[in-house]
């Protein structure tokens, strides 16, 4: 299991558009990928769950990845939060 913290680098936070991209990204992996904010943990396969956490720009969240392809999944997620999110 791999857990990593990220600061949300987009002004609007994790709103619908980046959330859509993120959900579609996680579908490429077999691992269970979850997002945690203030001790609330949700699976990254539900747009409603992600939106319900109201993740704003500048906030810190953790991503927990567990499964056989967790290393490669972590890399993809890492790229998403450190690079792509800024452009979305």
């Amino acid at each position: 299991m791999i857990s990593k913290d990220y600061v949300i680098m987009s002004p609007q936070g994790l709103h619908a558009r980046p959330a859509t991209t993120l959900i579609r990204l996680t579908k490429n992996f077999k691992s269970t990928i979850s997002l945690k904010k203030n001790d609330k943990l949700v699976r990254l396969n539900s747009m409603l769950n992600i939106l319900s956490l109201v993740i704003k720009g500048g906030e810190t969240i953790s991503i927990v990845i567990d499964g056989e392809d967790e290393i490669i999944a972590t890399e993809a997620i890492d790229l998403f939060f450190t690079q792509q999110l800024k452009e979305l």
Binding site: M9, P11, R43
Partner: protein, 569 residues
């Protein structure tokens, strides 16, 4: 009627009132396992049909979809396949024995309520998406069939309680505006109206109930007005206003995408002066490429004590997060002079502009200064923030400020906070002594920004506030021009950046002259950017240098201004 203008522009047309159809609960329950399985299958089937429908909408070229439209459709497709909605619906069907219609209405209503109660405007507006996908699934349960395209007459203005995201998308070109009872700036209706470039007024309240089909409507999306059955005079007035607006908007739009490059290929940077994060939208709308001056006074005014480091951090962070990674130059506190704080009692001075103000206060009350610097350093990790010191008159002040900046970094290091270690530091050149010693100061800092308002007032010994001597306040005075020219020369010699953030940067008469002096960074009120840009793209540096040489040889400002005006005509 008043509402919130969410998409600017003016439309005159006929009303079409749209009423929502409520799908009712049936109250019938399921009594055997077979029915339960069948209902779940019906759910999956309806969802897949709904997804197909959205996918084909996405590919429908007749709709002339914008990027924003596609994004909304993508989001809704994702919501339709959300496992949470399925889980909750299946639960209601199998445990509560509700039929699919009732189960789904209940699930959607709960989710809409949850989003409506969120303390975030953007998330509250998402409740409309959830309602929308719920209705779409229900539609596929009840009426098997086609997509919901509607026919409208030309120049239709839609009046509705609210307009769902998918309704806005499928609205055809005949619709030239809409007004709604509810809604906010972040609702889909607003986003799409802006993308389509049609005026919209939301949140008008129940007053819209009095409007009937085919009433003549004037919609003013600039001021948030809905006028019902106006008289001929009003229609004439608004027709004219509309033409003026369209012409202006067209020019702006054309210029926004154009890069400010002179005919002979010199890239100029046009930035904006702003006071808070909300101004950021204007910066990009007018084609600015960053912020040449972020005033921080607003942060300190209208309150009863100094803002804490965290409060300041939030303020800077909000700005930088909206800056699209373009540079943002933060000017440290510039209070004193004519700007006072109710909670910071400064004694009345004989000559406040020559008194205890700006950097002078900061170097005296270092606690105040360190707090601001720490907040800026922390916010700088989110983008390209730079620090700019106002009212520098000698090199010693710069060195002291740098020591304090180093202390701020030390404190943050000890606190284990994340911050930008190599932040750029610049100074305002607005006191004649700083201008004349630009060669010395350039060795100490990363950039200069020429503040022409104060530079002019101090060079000419003219109080900007004194009405009797306004004629002497003259930025085209050869003395002022020589100082500006010298500062630019010295900065270029020592290869540091030099910009200008005073009124002169926005003065079209001065643009060629400044280009000729070698200035490449201009910062001004966002609305002035298109005008200055149009001068830049229609001239070359060669001409500008010629203008500059000519002006620098002239003796009085009256002739200089005449010459420059002639050149721009």
């Amino acid at each position: 009627m008043n509402g919130i203008g969410v998409s600017p522009g003016i439309s005159i047309g006929k009303a079409r009132v749209i009423k929502k159809v409520q799908i009712a609960l049936t109250g019938t329950s399921l009594d055997n396992e077979a029915d339960i399985t069948a209902e779940i299958e019906r759910f999956d089937f309806a969802v897949s049909k709904a997804i197909n429908e959205l996918e084909s909408l996405k590919q429908n070229t007749c709709l002339n979809l914008q990027k924003e439209d596609i994004e909304i459709l993508e989001t809704q497709i994702e919501l339709l396949s959300d496992p949470q909605i399925r889980e909750d619906t299946v639960e209601k069907i199998s445990s509560d024995k509700q039929n699919l219609n009732d189960a789904l209405i209940g699930v959607i209503a709960n989710m809409v309520k949850m989003f409506e109660n969120m303390d975030d405007e953007y998330m509250r507006a998402r409740s409309a998406d959830i309602q929308d996908i719920g209705n779409r699934i229900l539609k596929h349960l009840n009426i098997p069939g086609d997509s919901c395209s509607q026919e409208f007459e030309p120049d239709t203005i839609i009046i509705a309680e609210d307009i769902s995201p998918s309704e806005t998308i499928t609205m055809d070109k005949q619709v030239t505006g809409f007004a709604t009872y509810t809604g906010s700036k972040t609702s889909h209706a607003a986003i799409i109206a802006k993308a389509k470039g049609i005026p919209a007024v939301v949140g008008c309240g129940n007053g819209l109930e009095s409007i009937n089909n085919n009433d003549v409507i004037i919609l003013d999306g600039i001021n948030g007005l809905v006028l019902v059955n106006p008289d001929q005079q009003m229609i004439a007035d608004y027709t004219e206003k509309r033409e003026v607006y369209i012409e202006k908007a067209d020019q702006l739009k054309q210029l926004r995408e154009v890069e400010p490059i002179t005919i002979d290929g010199t890239k100029i940077t046009l930035m904006a002066n702003i006071a808070n994060a909300d101004d950021m939208e204007d910066v990009f709308d007018f084609g600015g490429e960053g912020v040449g001056l972020l005033r921080t006074e607003l942060l300190f005014m209208n309150r009863d004590s100094f803002p804490t480091e965290d409060e300041q951090f939030e303020f800077y962070k909000k700005v930088v997060l909206r800056s699209k990674n373009k540079p943002v130059i933060v000017r440290t506190i510039d209070i004193g002079g004519d700007k006072h704080l109710p909670y910071f009692n400064l004694p009345v001075e004989q000559n406040p502009f020559l008194g205890y103000r700006a950097i002078r206060i900061c170097l005296d009350r270092t606690g105040l200064f360190i707090t601001q610097l720490k907040a800026i350093l922390r916010a700088a990790v989110f983008g390209d923030l730079k620090i700019m010191l106002p009212m520098i008159s000698n090199v010693q002040e710069v060195r002291e400020a740098k020591n304090i900046l180093a202390r701020a970094k030390d404190e943050l290091l000890r606190e284990n906070a994340s911050f930008k270690t190599d932040i750029e530091l610049g100074i305002m050149i607005e006191i004649p002594s700083a201008a004349i010693t630009a060669d010395i100061l350039a060795k100490e800092v990363d950039f200069f920004s020429i503040g022409t308002n104060d530079l002019c007032q101090y060079t000419l010994a003219v109080d900007r506030m004194n009405e009797k001597i306004t004629h002497l306040y003259d930025p085209f005075n050869p003395g002022v021009l020589r100082l500006i020219s010298y500062v630019i020369d010295q900065a270029r010699k020592q290869k540091i950046h030099v910009g200008m953030c005073g009124e002169m940067a926005a003065d079209p008469r001065a643009t060629l002259l400044l280009l000729g002096m070698g200035l490449t960074d201009f910062s001004m009120g966002a609305a002035a950017i298109p005008l200055i840009k149009s001068i830049i793209i229609n001239n070359n540096i060669f001409t500008a240098e010629h203008v500059c040489n000519h002006v620098m040889a002239m003796h009085n400002s009256e002739n200089i201004i005449k010459y420059l005006q002639k050149f721009n005509a």
